[in-house]
């Protein structure tokens, strides 16, 4: 250990002589230390350190929970992103009846406990019989987990991103760059596979 060697170099009389190196696992030499006349308790550093650490962690926790309850610094960005969000929810499914749109938006709201946009593939248009549901490094705002995705579909993900209308819940900073992406209207309507969606949202909320 670097710690014991430092101490033994300083306290022992042999300065840097290698031949006198002794392999001790005591980590320090008690000899010169005198424990007489201590004003405070001898373990005061230990106690002080752990109490301080506990206080700091609890304080951090309270600060985080307080942040939950008070106002958000991002609220000035709420309006444009809300509009964007609503547009994204409803823009893709023109041909569908109103009910399914509401279901769509409801499901979007449910899933959007995660911070990332989903790239949801519809069964008939991609792979017959293969249901694929992917997210990009999904992490929920409650748990830092990840929804599984297959890495073999890396290129498909990219295509998916450019072609599909992706509801973007994330951003507050890159408004301009995302403008074009959001206005992209996909040729293929996004149809949610309710089963896979429910599964994934359960996984996230879990």
């Amino acid at each position: 250990m670097s710690a014991p060697r430092l101490v033994s170099n300083r306290t022992s009389q042999q300065a840097l002589s290698n031949s006198d190196y002794t392999w001790e696992y005591e980590y320090y030499e008690y000899g010169p230390v005198s424990f007489e006349g201590l004003k405070a308790h001898k373990y005061s550093i230990v106690i002080g350190f752990w109490v301080g650490l506990a206080v700091f962690v609890i304080f951090m926790f309270f600060v985080l929970t307080l942040l939950t309850k008070t106002g958000a610094p991002h609220q000035d960005n709420t309006e444009p992103s809300e509009k964007r969000f609503r547009m994204n929810s409803f823009v893709a499914d023109f041909g569908r009846p109103l009910e399914s749109e509401r279901v769509f938006s409801h499901q979007i709201a449910e899933e959007s406990r995660s911070l990332f946009h989903f790239c949801i593939n519809e069964v008939e248009h991609l792979d017959k019989g293969k249901q694929s549901h992917r997210g990009m490094g999904l992490e929920s705002n409650t748990h830092f987990q990840e929804v599984p995705r297959s890495s073999g579909r890396f290129e498909e993900d990219l295509n998916c991103l450019t072609k599909f209308n992706i509801p973007n819940f994330v951003n507050t900073e890159q408004n301009s760059s995302l403008g074009e992406d959001e206005l992209l209207i996909s040729e293929r309507p996004i149809i949610l596979e309710s089963k896979s969606v429910m599964q994934s949202s359960h996984r996230i909320l879990d």
Binding site: T11, K42, I45, L53, T65, R102, A109, F144, D157
Partner: protein, 293 residues
């Protein structure tokens, strides 16, 4: 393990000894757990992603830390039994090598946690461009750079540990990284919270306040665990450097083995809070164990 006898003359803080069985159990569990994480990520092709590579890097550094402690204990036992001399050159070199292994583990842990936090940050704030920013190749390059730097610094620190110049940066690095990781996660947390508020504003959703509490708890766990496991040891190094003769400092340093055990506990807890939260990894584990049965 109390080798020098004259220390018993004065009423003092005797070295707090952790029983060897506890030590070895904790170390073995830590090594096994992290090994499992590594195996799971290697076996499952779905997990060949930058995020999991960073988690693997954390698992490797945790394993190194536990391995170091185990080897050290084994050598103490061998020494006690007389198989190894205390003044040999070979033992000194071995000791140096093990010191550098430990420092490598510490630095590797810090940088891996930083990489994980940065990766999550990019995933959140640069979501659309994440695939372009964090490609697999780039992740591997970043890991290579991190580990080369850690290996170099650990060897340098182990060789030059008697210089003050090595201890100071070493101990400054720790709070600095902690603070940086804290900032990243707090920023992510703030976004998550504002996002939840936006969802709550929608007519069709019902977001519970509980979900934000869970976020706070998760964050506190991440940072609290790291702090509680590593800070005691870092403080020990500082005290050993600056006030080895002070009785208060000496009393703090007497709990060195407990601090070492805490570091190994960190190796056990880290996979639970980082790796096992991923459903894909959990299902890989289940498959691995179900197949062996």
């Amino acid at each position: 393990e109390n080798i020098s006898d004259f220390s018993l003359n004065i009423t003092d803080c005797t070295q707090v000894v952790v029983p060897e069985e506890v030590f070895f159990t904790v170390a073995a569990v830590g090594i096994l757990e992290n090994l499992l994480v590594l195996i799971a990520v290697i076996r499952n092709k779905n997990l060949h992603l930058p995020m999991y590579f960073f988690i693997c890097s954390l698992a490797i550094s945790d394993m190194l830390g536990s391995l170091y402690k185990t080897l050290e204990n084994i050598f103490i036992i061998l020494c006690k039994m007389g198989y190894l001399t205390r003044r040999g050159d070979f033992e000194k070199k071995l000791d140096d090598a093990m010191d550098s292994m430990f420092i490598l583990s510490l630095l590797g842990s810090i940088f891996s946690l930083l990489a994980i936090a940065a990766d999550r940050y990019i995933t959140i704030f640069y979501a659309l461009r994440y695939h372009n920013i964090m490609t697999l190749r780039r992740a591997l390059v970043i890991l290579a750079i991190i580990w080369t730097f850690c290996a170099g610094s650990s060897i340098a620190i182990a060789l030059f540990s008697y210089e003050v110049a090595t201890v100071i940066p070493f101990t400054i690095l720790f709070p600095l990284m902690m603070f940086f990781i804290l900032c990243l996660y707090v920023h992510m947390f703030l976004l998550a919270r504002s996002h939840a508020k936006k969802i709550a504003a929608l007519p069709t959703s019902a977001v519970h306040q509980r979900t934000n509490m869970k976020g706070a708890i998760t964050l506190t766990i991440f940072l609290g665990v790291f702090l509680c496991c590593w800070a005691p040891f870092v403080l020990h190094i500082l005290l050993a450097r600056f006030c080895p003769h002070n009785p208060y400092c000496a009393c703090y340093m007497s709990i060195f083995h407990v601090n070492g055990t805490l570091i190994m506990c960190n190796a056990i807890i880290d996979p639970m809070i980082y790796a096992f939260r991923s459903p894909e990894l959990r299902s890989t584990f289940k498959k691995m164990f179900c197949c062996t049965r």
